[in-house]
């Protein structure tokens, strides 16, 4: 039996790196007593696959890993509770979902390889609010916005704007309500966003409730990954063209809301299988 675990990572643990998160969950699974499957060989390891690493200092409600269990007569609910009981402050198990049995002769689909989109909630740091808001408005109006991206094998040009499918802004003008500057209508909106701001989530993410904030839905995964860093660099460039101000390298704090896979042209949450 394969399961997909969705978890939140927040508070001080936003400074925990990806490898340490993986280690943490190996230990947590061992403590929980969940019947995890091990690989063969002299040094067996738990069969686990983690989705996209989160940048240091970011919080998230959309972290995922898949793992294989050695038993199948255990309920999703029980697994979820057993895991949650071993969590320390800063980790929260949001859901556990059983994955459908793989069709014979098909390639194994792990959480990692399915990722196609991501949604982020960003909050300008004090002093950057107005400039960032102007920049994002300008950015939304562009048809394309290209930027140099450093990769392992040299730099390449990425059209950041083309990888963006929704931008919503909440400001004091809008009384905190989300107003979409861009919306391709291909992303499932997390249900708690429909009714406002997902307060439960943003409590984890941010220190205060002050606005503006903006939401941004992007392409993600191995093919065309638009990271928060790329978005921030784009906004900094636009800001400097617009007003001549140089925003600090860290101009906003960010929270990952969800990861998505694509199905029939639509982005649906990784936890929906």
């Amino acid at each position: 039996m394969n399961i997909r675990v969705c978890f939140s990572k927040y508070d001080r643990l936003r400074f925990l790196g990806h490898l340490d998160v993986m280690r943490y969950f190996q230990h947590a699974i061992a403590r929980s007593g969940i019947p995890i499957a091990y690989s063969q060989g002299f040094h067996p390891h738990m069969i686990m696959s983690f989705a996209q690493p989160l940048a240091l200092s970011m919080t998230s409600d959309g972290e995922y890993f898949d793992c294989e269990l050695s038993a199948s007569e255990i309920s999703e609910q029980d697994i979820c509770e057993s895991l949650q009981n071993t969590m320390c402050d800063g980790f929260f198990i949001r859901s556990v979902t059983a994955l459908p049995e793989r069709e014979p002769n098909t390639r194994k689909q792990t959480g990692m390889s399915q990722i196609a989109g991501a949604m982020y909630l960003c909050e300008p740091l004090p002093g950057c609010e107005a400039t960032l808001l102007d920049a994002i408005t300008k950015f939304a109006e562009c048809d394309s916005f290209c930027i140099e991206k450093k990769a392992k094998n040299g730099t390449r040009t990425v059209d950041v704007r083309a990888g963006i499918h929704a931008i919503g802004v909440a400001s004091s003008d809008s009384d905190g309500a989300l107003q979409y500057l861009v919306d391709d209508h291909i992303f499932d909106t997390p249900s708690d966003l429909v009714s406002g701001w997902g307060r439960e989530r943003s409590e984890h993410a941010f220190h205060s409730e002050y606005t503006p904030r903006f939401l941004i839905a992007v392409d993600a995964g191995s093919e065309n990954n638009i990271s928060v860093e790329l978005i921030a660099s784009s906004l900094r460039q636009i800001a400097s063209q617009l007003t001549g101000t140089t925003l600090p390298e860290r101009c906003m704090s960010s929270h990952r809301m969800e990861l998505y896979r694509i199905s029939e042209g639509h982005m649906i949450s990784l936890s929906k299988v």
């Binding site: 400074f15 925990l16 943490y24 230990h27």
Partner: protein, 626 residues
């Protein structure tokens, strides 16, 4: 748990491994600091990954936090990158749990595991905003306590501590903390408290003693300043390890630390009596935990940590009487849980080979011997009860079982060492390689690889060699060259590899180890000139140290290279470890006669540790009666 971090996101993103500074680990204790009477900051003065690997802190952390009136938190040395930022931005050093400034605490306890951490002690005090000198501290400063092996000769750093706890922490801390509350309730000052602490057995308050020196630099007298202050400070010992606190939940770091495994402490002390070994003397008498107790602890440690490796820890595991029973039971339990079992300090015999086959990957692991010296004569001098025959037959068994990598550890510069003893190291390495090639070619697994490592012998307090001269750095380098040449001359030279240890850190360690109170100003000056993390070769500045020591008139001739006469007052003579000075001197004389002293398990040599009335000292009496 408050989520406010002491460092801003900006800083945390600028430093290497920010997870060192955020706390929040599994099994971290959370309390409301406002709801306790005593706040205790426990410090290991090195980087997080080193400090978190230390079992002693886990034990004390657990013990203190069992008291509802006390909250014990942890603090480690900030790494050099953060150190710089904290100085520039005037950020006070903070604890991991509540991220609050160390200066707000009632106590700062610092464990002293090696001499080369002394400048880090000053770093911790300085970054905390606590005056470096005990005499300059006020009622607003924490009481600074030292403990651990280096507190057995605390003189070089005596000025920086309010008191030292000599011995094992489990015995007297309750009394100390109760006394602290009492003193505070009665409106007593820190001076009042320290005076009363000196009346508790094992507590050494350096400010209550006066040292005078002869003109030649040796000590004329070491005396308490008043009659109520004890002249000698007696080491604290846990008498029954089965009935003392042991952390059933150990803190589990997020980061991969140096000892990335749960630790099961089998026993304390060692029965071997190697004459160079300080641990073998200061932790006497040897006391074991029962197998049943250990199995219970092991189960709970694994349940509460989820760790995938467990280490059976001891100075000499092979001497633990229940080892076979414990290990065979643990192998099964660990296999079920997918936990690796690691057994360091195991003497290589049939049992060890059998166990290693079960718990290690023959292709990847190596077998380790620590003969410490290359010839039987030299091993008799140091009382290392390991013969060439033991080593060669152990190696042969391991080779037959498929191993082909051997690691050998030696010391250079041991007392009475001759060129032949140095060459003997290479010859022993060669003999081990030759043992491998006795196996028929078709049964071998490739070529054998014998790695020889040497370190620089450092004479330590409370060993029979405490009176002995060390060799000079130049002589040490010469011996290394001689060994290198001899290794290359061996028949199996291609199977031998030689690694050596840097001499400069060891020279300094020698000065600190047997130093007196006159070293303190030099340590302080070296720190002011930027020395921290001296234990890390890449951060050790020999040039600065050399210059500072010269200016303070501190010479290797006086501290390292000199034979100390029997009647000289040694800087640590006021500490009583149970093992008598007379016994150590007898051992010193026997070493010169190349005579060995039997293992405590075979025969009592009357070292004096029996005065604690526990462990091996008592068991033997029972067996001889029955």
């Amino acid at each position: 748990m408050s989520n406010k971090l002491a460092l801003s996101d900006d800083i945390l993103l600028r430093v290497e491994k920010p997870a060192r500074y955020i706390g929040g680990e599994i099994n971290m204790v959370v309390k409301d600091p406002a709801a306790v009477d005593i706040r205790f900051a426990m410090c290991f003065p090195d980087v997080y990954e080193v400090g978190m690997s230390h079992l002693g802190i886990q034990i004390l952390y657990d013990m203190f936090n069992r008291r509802s009136d006390t909250y014990c938190e942890r603090v480690y040395s900030p790494w050099t990158d953060l150190d710089k930022i904290m100085r520039e931005e005037h950020i006070p050093l903070f604890t991991l749990e509540t991220q609050s400034p160390v200066k707000e605490f009632d106590f700062l306890g610092i464990t002293l595991q090696y001499e080369m951490c002394y400048t880090n002690v000053l770093q911790v005090l300085d970054l905390s905003g606590i005056p470096l000198h005990s005499e300059d501290r006020t009622e607003d400063d924490p009481i600074v306590i030292g403990g651990g092996p280096c507190s057995y000769n605390p003189e070089p750093i005596a000025d920086f501590f309010d008191f030292f706890y000599i011995g094992e922490g489990e015995t007297a801390y309750d009394e100390i903390l109760d006394l602290y509350k009492e003193n505070r309730a009665a409106g007593g000052t820190r001076r009042d408290f320290l005076r009363k602490v000196s009346h508790i057995e094992g507590m050494y308050v350096p400010s209550l003693y006066r040292v005078e020196y002869h003109e030649d630099g040796t000590i004329r007298s070491f005396t308490p300043i008043a009659d109520d202050v004890p002249a000698r400070i007696r080491k604290q010992v846990v008498r029954d390890l089965d009935n003392c606190v042991y952390p059933e939940k150990q803190l589990l770091p997020f980061l991969r630390v140096i000892q990335d495994r749960v630790v099961l402490e089998l026993q304390r002390g060692c029965t071997r009596g190697c004459r160079f070994c300080q641990a073998g003397m200061i932790y006497r008498p040897n006391r074991e935990r029962s197998v049943e107790h250990l199995r219970n602890i092991a189960k709970s440690l694994l349940d509460t940590s989820g760790q995938d490796e467990m280490n059976l820890s001891s100075l000499s595991s092979s001497d633990f009487s229940g080892l076979q029973e414990l290990v065979y039971a643990m192998i099964d339990e660990c296999r079920e849980r997918h936990v690796n079992l690691s057994l360091p300090s195991l003497r290589i015999d049939s049992f060890a080979v059998d166990v290693m086959k079960k718990v290690q990957d023959v292709n990847k692991s190596s077998i380790t011997f620590a003969p410490e010296a290359g010839t039987q004569r030299m091993r008799n001098v140091i009382n290392k009860g390991l013969t060439d025959e033991d080593i060669l037959s152990g190696a042969a068994k391991a080779f037959a079982a498929g191993w082909n990598k051997v690691k050998l550890y030696f010391m250079l510069g041991l007392p009475t060492e001759q060129d032949d003893d140095v060459k003997g190291i290479a010859q022993l390495g060669n003999a081990i390689a030759a043992e491998y090639y006795k196996i028929p070619k078709e049964a071998r697994h490739g070529r054998v690889n014998v790695t020889i490592s040497t370190s620089y012998f450092i004479a330590k307090p409370f060993t029979p060699f405490q009176w002995m001269p060390m060799i000079s750095k130049e002589q040490f380098l010469q011996n290394q060259r001689l060994l290198k040449t001899t290794v290359n001359e061996q028949l199996n030279a291609k199977s031998l590899e030689y690694h050596w240890h840097d001499a400069e850190t060891s020279e300094m360690e020698g000065i600190f180890a047997r130093g007196d109170r006159r070293i303190a100003p030099a340590i302080e000056e070296a720190y002011r000139k930027g020395c921290i993390y001296d234990a890390w070769v890449e951060h050790f500045h020999y040039d600065i140290w050399k210059e500072v020591l010269d200016r303070h008139g501190i010479t290797v001739e006086f501290y390292n290279l000199r034979e100390r006469p029997k009647n000289e007052i040694l800087p640590w003579d006021h500490i009583d470890i149970g093992v008598s000075r007379n016994f150590l001197y007898r051992e010193y004389e026997k070493a010169q006669r190349e005579e060995i002293t039997p293992n405590c398990m075979k025969q009592c040599s009357g070292c004096g540790a029996a005065s604690y009335g526990c462990g091996i000292c008592v068991q033997k009496r029972e067996t001889s009666q029955s």
